[in-house]
Symmetry: C2
């Protein structure tokens, strides 16, 4: 079972108070279990509630105080010891790791932590965690639920609009002082009436679909299985590409989806076709993508993610039909606030033997 | 009466065929009145169907051939004569002018053309035409109807998304090679749940509203009068600003709306507030806007239009919370195709004594 939360459910499930509203836009103030106990609501003293972090997830960095008030944070990244030695030093009493893509939880890390019971991912995706090794060891994994879904969907639509309507390139033209001398500006493409294929109709993909429908796009999708929804299902990514003006990638990165957007799919999409990727870089064969863009075999791309972050192929920097983001489509004040609640909620649940909020299915 | 067309109505009203589909995205092929007659469907020879142009509208430039095949185009901009002399030379037989913002139809121009009966604007707005003088002389004005509305609405939402989610500034960061060294990237703001005020709930404003609703925004509006719609009406722009996170300007520029976004409104919107302007630059007191942005009195802006185009205040070029477009939110292949049909449809209607497609109300 894949457990997800929308933000309303989240607000009612996690009745927390350790986070105060961080800007005027928040309209709810909530309390964690017991409003009197803002520091540590469990009977365990914080020093026994150890949470190990290899590299700090951005949500942790932004809300560190709230984590530190409640848990004993073991910071591998702040230690003079090499990671392996740091893990060895805490091997016997670390039951929980908090992580994100910047600090992968490999089989080696898991082996170094024999007492490990829970891996809390600060991201929605768990491709940075060796899930097979977790399964073998009986270690539970939680993710961020769907707290990022709306923001990622908004940014995906923003990227598609930007590429099709040349927003970033127009901004470059004006900032470069070239408007008075630029003559005619190339025409963009209308969104209304365009066929857009969503790759992965999960929490994010579905929200992208509803936003694009409001803009008059005709939405289809491919997914592991057909969903109960008004959009046309394609079992085959290649046929979806052939029939679509644009593809928006919203699926998880797995062995099956790695490089699913290959040369064939790009050629199927065609020279006007647009690809937006807000999922994981390795869904696309990046070397092939760069080649297709440079040679004009596809129309444009909007990318938030790359195969070898933070490195981005330099050939892309010169292209005007390309919009590049630094893997930040989930980065809003509001989603970080919600994410901190989910992460702390999962940690609290673990230390108080309550059901986890967002466990990730980990079955063959 | 303000006559408007949506694209479906347009497709059924203008059964034209002189334009061929200009790219694979067009799915309809249509015929003008009589499919046999692709050159000049009226009984008048083209040399008698004179259309004067001071400065070529972009839609004319892109589709010039279709205009030239049907009408005798008098190009003031191509003549060695000064404009005044050129107008004098054609004074007695020019009944029609085709225009856009680049070549304003002033009282002087109108005075130089005593036989003028029709001004065909290639834009939706008619603020570049001296409407009072046209009224006095009994000259009819047509505009582009609402062929641009969807594209302008899409771009307005794109600009708001860009400013709130920092898309252009993220693209600049990646292209500048600064991602690996930039550390934490500032968090953006979620669109969902934000109060957005639409200024002018016409064809464009209404489409902006429905798109923003799909993204979870709470939409209000101000307009000359309350409309029958699900959004909250504010009679007062200042109160709308005070109650809104963002304002999206979609109204016509008139003596009443000039500088309606003044210091008071900006201060009402507040230091997190965002302004998007896809209408006309002079709706905003631009000098005041620059001052508020530089001093951090408002949160950010997305501007397609400026007071003194193509000149843009240079202070804006340095700001990361600003997205600047070269007055091109209407510029798509599809809208230009539709616009050419409306313009030619109006010209054909005039020369064949048929009802104009998109006459503009011109009453006190």
């Amino acid at each position: 079972m894949y457990f997800t939360l929308n933000s309303n459910k989240l607000k009612s499930l996690i009745i927390c108070g350790m986070l105060s509203p961080i800007n005027q836009d928040f309209t709810f103030i909530s309390f964690f279990m017991n409003p009197q106990d803002h520091q540590s609501p469990s009977s365990q003293p914080p020093e026994l509630r150890k949470v190990l972090i290899l590299r700090p997830p951005p949500v942790f960095t932004v809300h560190e105080q709230y984590f530190s008030n409640r848990f004993h944070i073991l910071k591998a990244y702040d230690s003079p010891l090499p990671t392996h030695d740091f893990l060895h030093a805490h091997a016997q009493d670390v039951k929980v790791v908090l992580c994100s893509g910047a600090g992968p939880i490999t089989a080696d890390v898991i082996r170094d932590l024999p007492a490990l019971q829970l891996v809390v991912s600060a991201a929605t995706g768990v491709n940075h965690i060796d899930m097979a090794e977790c399964r073998r060891r009986g270690i539970t994994v939680t993710n961020a639920g769907d707290v990022f879904s709306e923001d990622v969907a908004d940014a995906a639509v923003g990227l598609l609009t930007d590429v099709m309507r040349r927003i970033s390139s127009g901004d470059r033209l004006v900032r470069g002082g070239r408007w008075p001398t630029s003559g005619e500006y190339p025409l963009g493409s209308k969104l209304g009436g365009k066929r857009v294929g969503i790759v992965g109709l999960g929490n994010i993909g579905f929200r992208v679909a509803t936003r694009l429908e409001a803009m008059g796009c005709i939405v289809s999708y491919t997914s592991r299985q057909k969903k109960h929804c008004p959009f046309t299902f394609y079992p085959d990514i290649l046929q979806l590409a052939v029939d679509s003006y644009a593809l928006v990638l919203c699926c998880a990165l797995t062995n099956e989806t790695r490089h699913m957007i290959d040369n064939k799919v790009m050629m199927g999409l065609g020279e006007k076709g647009v690809i937006v990727n807000v999922a994981r870089g390795a869904l696309i064969d990046e070397a092939e993508l760069v080649k297709c863009l440079v040679e004009g075999e596809i129309g444009g791309v909007g990318l938030d993610v790359f195969e070898n972050e933070p490195n981005v192929p330099k050939e892309l920097f010169e292209l005007d039909n390309v919009v590049l983001l630094p893997h930040k489509t989930a980065f809003t004040k509001e989603s970080f606030y919600d994410a901190a609640q989910v992460l702390i909620g999962n940690l609290e649940a673990f230390f108080t033997n309550k059901p986890l909020l967002t466990p990730v299915a980990n079955e063959f």
